[in-house]
Structure formats: structure tokens, C-alpha cells
């Protein structure tokens, strides 16, 4: 009834203007390239909202009010739009030309606003979803390495599904440097659960002797098959509208949705096998020094390589199916994927299921569009590999004295204890019957795998709903909401018999659960209007609110503090934990950020663009400070000119634009620091009534202030066969949030908070696209991505405000280990420092006779500021070379990824050297010692070879000489390689069947460090560039099958 009424009104209204009879026009949209239909092509009557989409064959029909004067605008992404005057025709066939220039390519920018690439005033780089699934990685973020200029990716050395650290344009902040992920226009929290904080692998909040852990990050939960494309907005300019979280750049993920007229089923199956690419080089020639000793400086035994036998072939099988389709009114997309993985470490498994549903629809005469999605993920991993010295099966594996029978310990990792009537650990270093607890840096690896079981589980749901109402052709409003909640559960069950630093006498049970949730809402007014024939205005005004509840966790642990830990051995329940061992922690970080923002882009004649954005944020983290009510304001301004439309350029240049932008982004601080509680619960003392006095509130804390400037140019030559995009940027991050210890004399606070300093990053990014070959049979396209970044801590502090100008802010404190990593004025963010030095005279090392007459290097412990700087893990520059060659039905792709410069440090190597397990020590022994230039302390030359044991025992171990374990991080590798074949079938109902052989991380062209510098022990700021018994880097080779129906 109501509908009829509406129609009547419309008819009455239209009768006034439509003097002519209505006609239905039909036709087909085809591609000029191959004559096939263009499904989904948009057909709109110019100047109206009357429009439709082409069906699967490219056919369309549309009813026109004025067939004589109507002009149809036919467009589709990747094609040049065409306008055709109907002139009373009833059949209009349109041939669309592929837009070779791609000038009108649309990218999704901040807040999901689509913009033409050529209008952007800042650097954006796009990666198509297809590239992410070809040689897939379980964490999609890893697939960006080498594909985007200026991105630095470090995977956590925790195997499949582990977290990834993604840094754009260098480390800027003392607190957080990771890029922000934005999914379909809405920021996504990306907590990395349970990262290790020290070289033992223990994580914050966990009790001592806890196992290292990586619970995975949120980005790893996204199914790569669901991704349409990823845009990387590298600078703060691009990101100003996302608010402070975007100061480190944004990874914008656009997911797939159903398309009108296209009913598709896509299926893909990917099976890959992994093996060790790069493990430490070890020796098996020389045996145990003496019975019972932990080192292998003994006689030749020529033991077998037991380490090689330990690894198994890993296997990852991913299946994914998606169904999509719809009418021009409503489209649906559903996908399901599952992944099962068996790691290279025995018993280690990982499983993941994702289900994604998305519905897009147009209502109310197409004026209201709706976009809703729900995504469910569940994943679990068992014995996910860990880094660090504690509780890591690799320490015992690598450091079993040579000559002992590994197979015996494998088959007899436990023995029946007559005194306890249960099975306990059997390992050469321990004798539990006689009270010898063994060594805290090694256990029987098979005990560690079978009797210290670790399980991570995550359930996650996120969904969003967007409503957009188009008032007129230039004005629309949009409201959007998103809900994201994940639940992580971690359990550690260590049997009685586990090394006593890791577990109490009767075993250890750790129960840890954590929620992370986010509510997001925004409201936008979108304007896009031609102000006159030359000037276009596109503007967005809006407001947003984000409500976070992170680390909402409860952890209950039976700590190894000398007692029994559990009442009944090996019963892993909370009630069974003894009161004296029980340690409970409860955490919740709350935060709310509200924002009001606006952006305006003026386009003059489609070749000159001016971008302005402004935003004011209010963050609850500033409660109790003056910033609470006024919030903090920031902005960006950018200009862009398409020069080839203004100037006459040489003919070879087909397109050229220059751009510049400046942005200032305020950043908030962690929750609660302006309002620390007077007491915190002291969980280690197992009591609610013993507290540590809280830190200084410092209710003058300000937002961090990040200012960046970038200038760039995009040039295309020779009919767009060559394209170059270059950007120079400089970024200064002022007023960093810093936590520093108070002077002991402060009667109230043990910690002070400050806004301090300036960290600068500047650099160049370039990406070069070339199509070296393009003919009817072969197309070869090639992309180079280059980036160089220089980082400097320009200023730490003004003297006299309680924190010294020359202070060293720890990222990883020495803590008695061979290295530390600090932020210090004049140096680079995260420089590594050595805690010990070998004394040198000129190029000779200084030696002396020790008490036993052995000649040893002279070393000295040094602390900052005297500790020498030994390197920085950040590469000097990166270069990725990405290629795709199409020949008939074959597609060959490969990606060569290089990182040049930077230094990394291997604690693993120091351990293996110290105890005579590394190949280096065997080589030195074979050589009769080390050939090193050495002098005595009085300067007399020492002419003999240095004894290998004396030398390595002095410099090795975790407490050894850090400067001797620093390596050039330069590496170049074949990151991805695939050969695909599309079956030449023409069977109704089958769109395509593709088969490919794929490989990832296949080999190194160049590599100098003893471990893969891409791996990091943690994805937080600590432990960057350091390997402590991390899982070896793996190579994977496998098969891909894709079918479309």
C-alpha cells in the first residue's frame, strides 16, 4: 500500500518533467581486449541516480524516462568509462577499453573513502589480494615483505601463525611503533598476546621461569582469501584521519564482497611442506669434555648429527571456499577456510578456521546502501615454538654433550622413579633421585615437548555494519559500527620432573585467559560536488568513538618458588595449586577515544588537488590533565599536481605528478598513567595486602607530537610501460612518552613519567614498475621496491627536569647479559650495546695468562655510558624485486627480497661457542687454535695460536662479549616463487582451474648472520634483532589448486 503510494508520488512528480514516453534500453557491455562480457559494469543515466549493473554476461537493461536526451555512463574498475547518447536507440552495445593508463584507478583511503590515485597527495602502495594467496603465509602481514617500499617486517620466531612486527618508515616511538591495521575502513586492535620480554623468553606479568610465548596477533586471524586488496598508507599524512593510532602508518585491508550479477564459487587448496632453511652450524666431531660436564671440548668422537634428525617435515594445508553473488540490489559473500599445520618441531600443531559473511545491499531506490559483515575465527596451537633460554626444547637439543646417545634420551625421556612412583625426567644433566635439579638452560627436548604441554586457543568475532544514505548526487551520510572481541586462553601443564626453575616439585599449571575488545562507531557526512566546471570539492566531516578493553585478563599460576606447587602431582586444575605457589594477576586496560574530524579536497580541472584534514581527539588516557577536556588537535595539508595536463612534457613521459604533504599527529599515552593507583596488588607475594607504591601521576602529561613532511612524484614513461614513484619523507616525533625511575629520595613515587625528546626518521622510498615485455604471447611485469631510512634520536631530554640528557632508556636492559638495547640521544633508536668488551691494542686483542696458565683474552664488563654501541638491527635500505611473467596459460612469479645493512646479534651462537657446540669451535680446534693477532697487556706480541676453549669460554655464553656476536644483517633471498598453469578448458559452469607449484623463502643469495635476520624474538620494542634459540627459519614448497565455478 505504502509502496504504491510512493510510486504514485514519484509518477506525479515525474509527470511534470517527463514529457516523453518511457523506453527500456538494453545492451551488452564487452571488453575491447577479448570481447568477453564485463559483469558488474555500472550503467547510469548521467545526471540521475537511475542506474543498473550488467549481469554475468555483461548484459543490462535500463528504463529511461527520456530516451532521446539521455546519456548513459558505463563504467567499471579497470576500464575507461564511456558516455553514450541513447538517441532513442533501444539496443546500446558498449565496448569498454581497458584503462591501460590506470590513471583513474581508485584506491581506498582513510575512513574507507575511495579516491582516484592521481589525486592523492601522499604515498600509497597497493597489493592485490591475489598476490597474497599465491605463496601464502599464515600471517598475511608477512606477505607484504618486499612488495611495499618502506615496510620492515619481522616475524616472531614462533612458527606458523605467530605475530609479526610491521614498521613503516622506521621506529619513531619509545612505546609503540607498529602500523595500524584498518579493515574496511575501521581500525582493528592488534594486540600481540604474551610476547617475551627478556632473553629467557619470560613475558611480562608471567611468573618466573615461565615459558616464552607468542599467542599470535589479530592480523594473523584474517583469511588471506577474503582480501580484495591491501593499501599501505605509509606516512602520517595519509593517516591523519584515523587518529593518533595511525601515526605509525596504516595497513588498509579491503575485503571481498559479493558483486551484482556474478554468482561465483571459488575454491582453493594449498598444501605446502616446510623444512629447515637456516639452523645454527654445529659440530659433532668433538665429544663431551668429561663425564657429567655440559660442554664438548673433549676428544674426537665423531657423533652423529642428532639435530638434523630432530626436525620433521612441516606441513600446512589450507582449504578455502567462497561463494558470492547477488542482484543489483543485494550481494552476498560467504567464505570458509581452514588451515591445519604440523610444525617442523615434533608435536607442534596449529589449526585455524575462519568463517566470513558479508552482505551488501541497496534499499530505498538505491539511496540507502547497507554493508554488513561478520567474521568468526577459531584457532588453536599446541606447543607453539618459543624463543629464549627457558623451557625451550631447542636448548637441550643443541647443547647435548656430543657422544651421548640422543636416541636413548629420545626413547627414554622419562624414567620410573621408585621413590616417587611416577615418571620423571631423564636427562644427562639431572639426577632427580639424588636431588640434582639439572641446568636451567636445558632439558630433555622430548620431555619439554611431551611433558611440558602448552596450548594456545583463540576465538574471535568481529562484525561491522555500515549504512549510507545518498541524499543527492553530491551529498550522502554514513554511519558505521564495528564490534571486535577476541578470547585467548593459554594453558601450560608441566609434569613433576620438569626442571625446578620452570616448575615446582609436583608440576606447574598456568591458566591464563584474556579478552580484547573494541567497539567503534563513526558518523560521516560526505560531499562530492563540482563547484563549477573547473573546481571540484570532495569533503568529509564526521565524528567517531572507540572504546577499548584490552588485556582483560586473569592469570593463575603455580610458580616455581621452591614448594610443591600442586597439591597432587600432575593434576592440572586451579584448585590443585598450593596457596604458597599460587600467583594470580588480573589486568584490564580501558580506553576511550572520541574524535571529530573533517577533510576537504579541492580538485581543479582534475590536475591540481589540495587536501586539508583536521581532527580533534579526546582520549580518556588524558583524564585528570588539561588535555582531557580540550583534547588534542592535529591536521594535515597536501598538494598534488598532474603535470602532464598542465605542461608540455617530453613525449616519452606519459604521466607525471608531483605531490607534497605535511602532517602533525597527536598521539595519546597508555591508559592510567595520569592516575596511578596508590597500591597495586603484588601478585608474586600471593596476597592482596602487600603493595608497591605507585608511580608519579604527572598530571601534566601531554600528547606525543609527531610531525612529518613528505614530497614525492609519480612518473610514467613510454606508454606507461615504465612507472616510477618516489617519495622523500622526514618525520620528527616530539614529546615522547617515557617511563623512567624516580630518584630514590622521592617519598612517594618510584617511577616518573615524562614527555621528552625527539626521534627523527627520514628516508626515501621508490617503486619502479616496468613492463619489459608485452606482446600477444608474453607479458612480463616487474616491480622494484626500494626504501632507505635513517633514524636518529635527536634529543632525549633537557637537562634538569629529572631525567638526564644522557640517559639511556632501555628497550632491553643489560640485566647481566651480553647485550642491551637503549634509546640514547645522538644514537639510533634501538641501538645494541655490548655489556662486555675484549681489550684491544690497535688491531690486536690483549691476552693474559689466567690462574691456570691458560692464555685468555682480557675482557672487561662495561655499563652504559661506557658500553660500546655495536649496531642497529634496522636495515640501511631494502630492495624487493617482484616479477610476474605470463606466457600463454602459464604464469611465473618470483619475488626477491633484500635487506641491506643493519646488525643483528646471536645469543644462540654465543652459547654454542661457549660450550664447544658450534662449528666455529670445531674449526678452531682442527686448526690447532685461532689465528688472531694478540699481545700481552704489556704490549709484547703473543705469537702462538689462541686455544679455542680458552677463547670461546671467555667470549661466549649469554653473559659473554656482545660485540663478538654481532653480525651483518644483510640478506637477499628468493622470498617467493611460483609457476602456475591455467587449464585451457571451456566447460560450462567452470570458470577456471589453476594449478601452481609455489615456494616461499627458498634460499638465500646472500646471508651473513647465523640466523635469519627477519626473525625477531618479540614483536614489541624489546629484543629486536636478537636470536635466542629461536625456531630456525623455514623454507616451504607446495602446491596450489584454485578453481572457480
Amino acid at each position: 500500500m505504502r509502496k504504491s503510494l510512493l510510486k504514485l508520488i514519484v509518477l506525479l512528480f515525474m509527470s511534470g518533467t517527463a514529457a516523453y514516453a518511457q523506453t527500456t534500453v538494453s545492451g551488452r557491455v564487452t571488453s575491447a581486449t577479448d570481447g568477453s562480457g564485463v559483469p558488474g559494469a555500472s550503467v547510469v543515466v548521467k545526471g540521475t541516480t537511475n542506474g543498473t549493473s550488467a549481469d554475468a554476461d555483461g548484459k543490462f537493461s535500463i528504463t529511461l524516462a527520456d530516451p532521446a536526451n539521455s546519456v548513459l555512463v558505463i563504467s567499471f574498475i579497470g576500464f575507461s568509462a564511456q558516455e553514450i547518447a541513447v538517441q532513442n536507440q533501444t539496443v546500446v552495445n558498449v565496448t569498454l577499453r581497458e584503462d591501460a593508463q590506470q590513471l583513474n584507478e581508485v584506491v581506498v583511503t582513510a575512513l574507507g573513502i575511495e579516491k582516484e590515485t592521481k589525486s592523492l597527495t601522499y604515498a600509497v602502495q597497493q597489493v592485490e589480494g591475489e598476490q597474497l594467496t599465491r605463496s601464502r603465509d599464515l600471517n598475511v602481514a608477512n606477505s607484504l615483505s618486499g612488495r611495499v617500499a618502506g615496510i620492515t617486517i619481522n616475524r616472531s620466531a614462533s612458527g606458523p601463525g605467530g605475530s609479526t612486527r610491521v614498521v613503516l618508515r622506521g621506529n619513531k616511538s619509545t612505546t609503540n611503533n607498529q602500523a595500524l591495521y584498518v579493515v574496511d575502513g575501521v581500525p582493528m586492535i592488534n594486540p600481540s598476546v604474551g610476547q617475551p620480554t627478556d632473553i629467557w623468553g619470560q613475558s611480562t606479568g608471567a611468573g618466573s621461569g615461565s615459558a616464552g610465548r607468542d599467542g599470535g596477533d589479530a592480523i594473523s586471524n584474517i583469511n588471506p582469501d577474503d582480501i580484495e586488496s591491501i593499501n599501505v598508507l605509509k606516512g602520517a599524512s595519509a593517516a591523519a584521519l584515523y587518529g593518533s593510532q595511525a601515526a605509525n602508518g596504516v595497513i588498509l585491508i579491503t575485503t571481498k564482497k559479493g558483486k551484482a550479477g556474478q554468482s561465483k564459487i571459488d575454491f582453493s587448496s594449498n598444501l605446502t611442506f616446510e623444512n629447515v632453511l637456516l639452523a645454527p652450524e654445529m659440530q659433532y666431531k668433538y665429544g663431551q669434555t668429561a663425564s657429567g660436564t655440559r660442554d664438548s671440548w673433549g676428544p674426537v668422537v665423531n657423533a652423529p648429527d642428532h639435530v638434523k634428525k630432530f626436525w620433521q617435515t612441516g606441513r600446512t594445508w589450507t582449504n578455502s571456499i567462497s561463494l558470492s553473488g547477488g542482484t543489483d540490489k543485494a550481494q552476498s559473500y560467504v567464505s570458509y577456510s581452514n588451515t591445519t599445520n604440523k610444525g617442523i618441531v615434533p608435536t607442534s600443531t596449529f589449526d585455524r578456521h575462519t568463517l566470513n559473511f558479508r552482505e551488501t545491499a541497496k534499499l530505498l531506490n538505491d539511496k540507502l546502501s547497507l554493508d554488513g559483515s561478520v567474521n568468526l575465527t577459531t584457532q588453536k596451537s599446541h606447543n607453539r615454538p618459543v624463543s629464549g633460554i627457558y623451557n625451550n626444547p631447542l636448548t637441550g637439543l643443541y647443547m647435548m654433550p656430543r657422544g651421548l646417545d640422543f636416541d636413548y634420551y629420545k626413547n627414554n625421556f622419562e624414567y620410573y622413579s621408585p621413590t616417587r612412583e611416577m615418571y620423571l625426567q631423564n636427562w644427562w644433566a639431572m639426577d632427580l633421585e639424588n636431588g640434582n635439579p639439572g641446568l636451567d638452560d636445558q632439558q630433555n627436548p622430548y620431555w619439554a615437548l611431551h611433558r611440558v604441554r602448552r596450548d594456545d586457543k583463540r576465538d574471535r568475532v568481529f562484525g561491522s555494519l555500515t549504512l549510507k544514505y545518498q541524499f543527492t548526487d553530491w551529498l550522502s551520510v554514513q554511519a558505521r559500527g564495528r564490534f571486535d572481541k577476541s578470547y585467548d586462553k593459554y594453558e601450560l601443564k608441566a609434569n613433576a620432573g620438569t626442571q625446578s626453575v620452570f616448575a615446582p616439585r609436583n608440576g606447574r599449571y598456568t591458566f591464563d585467559e584474556q579478552f580484547n575488545s573494541q567497539l567503534y562507531g563513526d558518523f560521516l557526512v560526505l560531499i562530492n560536488k563540482d563547484l563549477n566546471s573547473d573546481l571540484n570539492l570532495s569533503a568529509t566531516f564526521g565524528t567517531s568513538i572507540q572504546d577499548f578493553k584490552q588485556n582483560d585478563g586473569l592469570s593463575i599460576d603455580a610458580t616455581p618458588n621452591g614448594g610443591d606447587g600442586l597439591n597432587i602431582p600432575n593434576v592440572f586444575t586451579v584448585w590443585n595449586i598450593t596457596p604458597s605457589a599460587e600467583r594470580i594477576t588480573q589486568t584490564l586496560d580501558k580506553k576511550q577515544i572520541q574524535g571529530v574530524f573533517g577533510s576537504m579536497q579541492f580538485g581543479f580541472k582534475d590536475y591540481l588537488f589540495l587536501d586539508l584534514t583536521a581532527r580533534n581527539d579526546w582520549s580518556s588516557a588524558f583524564a585528570y590533565t588539561p588535555t582531557a577536556n580540550k583534547g588534542y588537535f592535529y591536521y594535515s595539508v597536501g598538494v598534488n599536481a598532474v603535470l602532464n595536463e598542465v605542461l608540455t612534457l617530453p613525449e616519452a613521459i606519459s604521466f607525471m605528478k608531483v605531490r607534497a604533504s605535511y602532517a602533525k599527529v597527536g598521539n595519546d599515552i597508555p591508559s592510567y598513567y595520569t592516575n596511578p593507583r596508590d597500591y597495586s596488588i603484588n601478585g608474586t607475594r600471593n596476597s592482596a595486602d602487600q603493595n608497591v607504591i605507585g608511580p608519579n601521576p604527572f598530571r601534566v602529561l601531554r600528547p606525543e607530537d609527531n610531525r612529518s613532511f613528505e614530497v614525492g612524484s609519480e612518473i610514467k614513461f613510454i606508454d606507461n610501460r615504465v612507472g616510477l614513484d618516489v617519495t622523500y619523507y622526514i618525520n620528527n616525533n616530539y614529546d615522547q612518552f617515557v617511563t623512567a625511575p624516580a630518584t630514590s629520595g622521592d617519598a612517594k613515587y618510584s617511577t616518573w613519567y615524562w614527555n621528552l625528546g625527539n626521534i627523527r626518521n627520514r628516508g626515501v622510498e621508490a617503486s619502479l614498475n616496468i613492463i619489459p615485455v608485452k606482446n600477444s604471447e608474453v607479458t612480463w611485469s616487474s616491480t622494484f621496491n626500494f626504501a632507505a631510512n635513517r633514524n636518529k634520536v635527536v634529543k632525549m631530554s633537557d637537562d634538569g627536569n629529572g631525567i638526564s640528557k644522557n640517559s639511556y632508556q632501555p628497550l632491553t636492559a643489560f640485566g647481566g647479559n651480553m647485550f642491551g638495547s637503549y634509546i640514547h640521544e645522538g644514537d639510533m633508536w634501538g641501538d645494541l650495546y655490548s655489556n662486555r668488551i675484549i681489550k684491544r691494542q690497535g688491531d690486536a686483542i690483549v691476552v693474559k695468562a689466567d690462574d691456570t696458565g691458560q692464555i685468555v683474552p682480557v675482557t672487561d664488563g662495561v655499563d652504559v655510558p661506557n658500553a660500546p654501541r655495536i649496531g642497529n638491527p634496522q636495515p640501511k635500505f631494502t630492495l624487493g624485486w617482484n616479477n610476474s611473467i605470463d606466457y600463454k596459460n602459464f604464469t611465473i612469479t618470483f619475488l626477491i627480497d633484500g635487506r641491506f645493512g643493519g646488525k643483528v646479534l646471536s645469543v644462540t651462537q654465543a652459547y654454542l661457542d661457549r660450550y664447544g657446540y658450534s662449528k666455529a669451535t670445531a674449526d678452531a680446534r682442527d686448526n690447532g687454535g685461532l689465528d688472531m693477532k694478540a699481545v700481552y697487556e704489556d704490549g709484547t706480541p703473543y705469537d702462538s695460536k689462541l686455544d679455542a676453549k680458552a677463547y670461546y669460554s671467555t667470549i661466549g655464553d649469554r653473559t659473554g662479549v656482545g660485540s663478538e656476536y654481532i653480525y651483518d644483517a644483510t640478506n637477499i633471498r628468493l622470498r617467493e616463487f611460483s609457476v602456475g598453469y591455467r587449464l585451457p578448458i571451456k566447460i560450462a559452469g567452470i570458470r577456471n582451474i589453476d594449478f601452481s607449484v609455489v615456494g616461499r623463502n627458498l634460499f638465500f643469495f646472500e646471508k651473513n648472520a647465523p640466523f635469519d635476520p627477519d626473525l625477531a624474538m618479540s614483536t614489541n620494542n624489546a629484543l629486536q634483532g636478537v636470536d635466542v634459540f629461536g625456531l630456525p627459519s623455514t623454507r616451504s614448497i607446495g602446491f596450489n589448486l584454485k578453481a572457480g565455478f
Partner: protein, 534 residues
């Protein structure tokens, strides 16, 4: 529940709407920015918790009861080892560390930080809440403050004490010289004793005992706290007796004159009762990071002391199986396995013993030696001290022990020394004392003193902090010099102190610079403290 949910949702919507009007909705921010799992002062008003909780924290931090790694840095890897009681079989940092006098700054700030963060700050809070209002609590806090801080001063020398909490405009804080600190300790103890003594007189008639809910040591007894304060005062007076004899005598005699006297029964020993495992048990049993020190083997072994079996377990290493075998400070260690099977310590009860009653008797014995009024008879005090110690362990053979005038410290042999015989202390060595057990009234002052201090050293085990201080003051008992000295000449055979903490150099540069001048020598482990004169 449900209404709350709806309310929250609506509030989001309302905020969104108001934010659009270019104003924000920050009304909830203060609540949002409050850690729901922290505790505020307001929540502690009831039941005197605002006073009581800091007291609990202080008592458990004098010697940190948990986590054990904290205790290991606070005391075990310095005083416990320097006192001769213990040694670690672990070759930390390539065997270049505190134990061979290459001081590890990353370790040596712990005793300082623990004292300021977990004792001085809570006590400042107590003082603000109690002084002039609940003077009994205030007095109690003064005693604990002195007990905590004299230990800190005995480690580093000058400390922040009287100027604590008084930040200068540049953020620095002044240190007190050790003399000023000790004088302040005496003042604070006198104040406390003067407040508590009258209360102790009425104790029997009290219905409620105010300290009781928070007292981990004396169950709220005023009398026992007064006795402890007197004994502590005497300990400090004796400590400065060589350097500042007049002040020492004045303070010592006041302590001896108080109507409640000193600790005199074993039930009065200063023991912090905890519910967690004694940190030494973790370090000893779970980590294997501490073993018996060679001097214990040498002295108690030489004396055939029946208490030895209550200190340590026989070694399990094949080379020394079933012997009580200690490790010498600063030995060359190539791997932990070399010494880890030397004598373990016993498993201690979960109680932190910081002052034994026996010590009180030995303090009185020395006071008599020095002619202080009220000290009683040196011989009687000496015998009472040994007796108290035997009773503490329920050890047998006291009578024979007291009569033993032949046994002396025995030589030390280390069969597993990397350098053969390199660690041995052979018969006739200057590091082996001739002093026997039985009291001899005819002996000279030094022999008497050595006898008293040697027995006190045995009786104080395992409280390494006080034992190290008394060794530095008196040179007794005869400990063994560090085997390998990696101090680059900064420290002699016996270490004198720890260096000021590195954090003070960055946060309180002016203060610590002045502290070095107050120290009267370079900021190394080789500079003797004020009371340490020889």
C-alpha cells in the same frame, strides 16, 4: 545487567551525537582512566589498613621474601657471600662478577631500590598518617626504618635518610654521611623507645593489641619491640665503638639501661613470619645457585660444631662425598657442574631470621669488654650466647663444646680446584685462626673479641648482612681472601662496600656526587666505610 548494557550502548550513541556538535563527551574519562584492579588510599581507611598495609610491606621487604631472584640480588650475591657463609657454584657472566670483585651494577642496586621503594616510601606514608596521632604506630615505623636503613648504610655508606622526600628544585636529594645517618638512627630509636616503653608497661592490661593484625614479627607485643629496639641500638653502638667511642658508649649504655632490656629468650629473636618459601630454599634447591661457604666448613668443621649439620648438607660430589664441603669466594669456575655438588644449604623454615637472641648476648659480651655500664659479665654473656644458639637448633653437646679449648679453625682443601691446590688454605696459614671455643678470662682484648665475634658469626647464620658488617668492623672471624680478584686493583683481599647505584647517577647526579665526597674515597668496593677502621 541488561539495563546497564543498554545504557552503555545509548551512551555511546549520545556521545557520538554530541561529538558531532563539536563538543566531546568526556564525563566518563576519569572513571575509564582508573585501573579497576588497583587500590586507592580511600579504600584502605577501614580497619587501619591505610597504616597497616604499609607495615606489612615494610616487614616483608627488609629482606625481600619473594620473589627469590630479588633476594638473590638484594643480599645473596653480595653480603651472604662476602660474609663467608655461602658461595655460588654458578660462574655468572663468564665468572666475572661480584664474587670475584668485578662488581655488577645491574645486581648491586637491588638492595638500595628495595629499601627506598618498599621500605622508605611506605614508612613516609605511615609517618604522615600517624605522627602525633597514633604515636605507637609511628614509633613502630621508626624501629623498622632503622632496621632497614642501617643495613643499607652498611652496604653503601652514605645514604638518603634525613633528607628523604625533600627534593631540591633540580630534582636532586641530599645524602647523609654515614656518621649523620647513624646519629639519626640513634635519635629515631630513642624516640621510638621513649614512646613504646610506657605502653609496654601497660601491655598486660590491654584488651586489643593495636599492632597485632599487621605484625609479622612479634604478634603485636610492645615489650618485644622495645627489647628489639634496645638490641638494635646496642648493635649500632657496638658498630661505631672503634670510630666514635664516646657516642657508642652513650648509646650502648642507654640501650643496656632500658627497663625491658635486650632480647633474652629465643622466642624473642627477630623473625619475619611469611607464608612463602624462604628465598634461600629456592636459590639453593631449585636453582642450585648457592652452596656452603668455605669458612663455615673450616670454622665449624674445625670446632666439630654440632650446629654444622643444621647449616648444610654433606656434599654429593664424588670427590668430596659425604663431607661438609664449602666453596671459597672468588674461585675460578669453568662450569656450574664443578661445584654444584658441594654442600648444599639446609632447607630453612619459611621464616626470615634477621636478629637472633644469641646476638644480643654477644653484643653484651663485647660491651663488657669495652667497659660499658650495665653489660654484665663477658664470660657469662658469651656462654649465654652460645647456649641460646644451641637451643635455637636444639643441638646437642653444648657442655663439651663450651669446654673445648683445643679445637681451632681447620685447613681448607679443595680437591676440585682448576689450578691444583690453588684454593687450599693450608695449616699454618695466616687465614686460619688459633682461637679456641672455651672462654679465657686471661686472654687479651683482641683474642676475647675474636672469640666473641667468631661465635656471633656462627650464631647469626644465615644472616649474611650483619655478619659481613661485623667482619669488616673487626676482621673476625678469619675469612679467606678472594681467590681471583677481578677488580682491576680497586678492591683488596676483602671487599669493603658496594658502589652507589647507577640509577642515582642519572636521576640524582648532584646528590650522589656529594655522597662520594662524604664517602671520603672513590666510589668503589675498596673504600672503607666510616665505622670501618683498622
Amino acid at each position: 545487567m541488561k539495563t546497564n548494557f543498554i545504557f552503555r550502548r545509548n551512551r555511546l550513541a549520545v556521545c557520538l551525537a554530541t561529538a558531532l556538535a563539536l563538543t566531546s563527551c568526556t564525563g566518563d574519562f576519569e572513571e575509564l582512566n582508573t585501573d579497576p584492579y588497583g587500590i586507592s588510599d580511600e579504600q584502605l581507611v577501614g580497619d587501619f589498613n591505610i597504616i597497616g598495609l604499609p607495615f606489612k610491606q615494610v616487614q616483608l621487604s627488609l629482606y625481600v621474601n619473594d620473589p627469590a631472584w630479588n633476594t638473590q640480588l638484594q643480599q645473596n650475591l653480595n653480603a651472604d657471600m662476602y660474609s663467608g657463609y655461602m658461595m655460588s657454584p654458578t660462574p655468572y657472566i663468564g665468572n666475572v662478577n661480584n664474587l670475584n670483585y668485578s662488581l655488577v651494577s645491574g645486581w648491586n642496586g637491588q638492595a638500595w631500590t628495595d629499601a627506598y621503594d618498599m621500605v622508605m616510601k611506605p614508612i613516609a606514608k605511615i609517618e604522615a598518617a600517624t605522627k602525633g596521632k597514633y604515636d605507637n604506630f609511628y614509633a613502630w615505623s621508626l624501629i623498622l626504618k632503622v632496621e632497614a636503613m642501617h643495613r643499607v648504610s652498611d652496604i653503601y655508606g652514605p645514604i638518603i635518610y634525613t633528607q628523604f622526600g625533600k627534593l631540591n628544585s633540580d630534582g636532586s636529594v641530599k645524602y647523609d654521611s654515614q656518621k649523620d645517618a647513624y646519629y639519626a638512627f640513634f635519635n629515631d630509636l630513642e624516640t621510638a623507645i621513649n614512646i613504646l616503653t610506657p605502653l609496654a608497661r601497660t601491655e598486660a592490661s590491654l584488651i586489643t593489641i593495636p599492632f597485632k593484625p599487621f605484625d609479622y614479627v612479634y604478634d603485636g607485643s610492645y615489650t618485644k619491640w622495645v627489647k628489639f629496639a634496645n638490641t638494635l641500638r646496642l648493635r649500632l653502638a657496638i658498630r661505631i665503638a672503634k670510630k666514635d667511642a664516646a657516642k657508642a658508649k652513650l648509646e650502648g649504655e642507654k640501650a643496656l639501661a632500658n627497663e625491658f632490656g635486650l632480647l633474652s629468650r629465643n622466642s624473642e629473636s627477630f623473625i619475619v613470619k611469611t607464608t612463602t618459601t624462604h628465598p634461600l630454599n629456592v636459590i639453593n634447591n631449585s636453582w642450585g645457585d648457592v652452596r656452603l661457604g668455605a669458612p663455615v666448613e673450616s670454622i665449624l668443621g674445625g670446632y666439630n660444631d654440632p650446629r654444622l649439620k643444621f647449616f648444610a648438607l654433606p656434599a654429593t660430589d664424588a670427590a668430596v662425598k659425604d663431607q661438609y664441603k664449602g666453596i671459597r669466594l672468588g674461585v675460578d669456575i669453568d662450569a656450574k657442574t664443578r661445584y654444584v655438588d658441594y654442600s648444599k644449604l639446609v632447607t630453612f623454615p619459611n621464616q626470615i631470621l634477621l636478629m637472633t637472641t644469641a646476638e644480643a648476648w654477644f653484643l653484651k659480651a663485647e660491651a663488657d669488654l669495652r667497659g660499658w655500664v650495665g653489660a654484665g659479665d663477658a664470660e657469662a654473656n658469651y656462654i649465654n650466647g652460645i647456649t641460646a644458639s644451641f637451643q635455637q637448633y636444639e643441638a646437642e653437646g653444648l657442655t663439651e663444646y663450651l669446654e673445648d679449648n683445643t679445637s681451632t679453625q681447620k685447613p681448607y682443601i679443595d680437591p676440585k680446584s682448576i689450578k691444583p691446590e690453588g684454593n687450599d688454605i693450608k695449616a699454618g696459614s695466616q687465614y686460619l685462626s688459633e682461637v679456641t671455643i672455651k672462654w679465657d678470662n686471661n686472654a687479651d682484648f683482641e683474642t676475647k673479641l675474636e672469640r666473641i665475634i667468631t661465635q656471633k658469626w656462627i650464631a647469626m647464620y644465615p644472616e649474611g648482612q650483619e655478619a659481613w658488617s661485623e667482619f669488616r668492623r673487626t676482621g673476625y672471624p678469619r675469612l679467606f681472601p678472594v681467590v681471583v680478584n677481578k677488580s682491576n686493583g680497586e678492591i683488596g683481599d676483602f671487599i669493603k662496600r658496594l658502589e652507589f647505584v647507577s640509577n642515582e647517577y642519572s636521576t640524582n647526579a648532584a646528590g650522589v656526587a656529594e655522597a662520594v665526597t662524604l664517602l671520603g674515597g672513590p666510589d668503589t668496593g675498596g673504600t672503607a666505610l666510616w665505622w670501618d677502621i683498622d
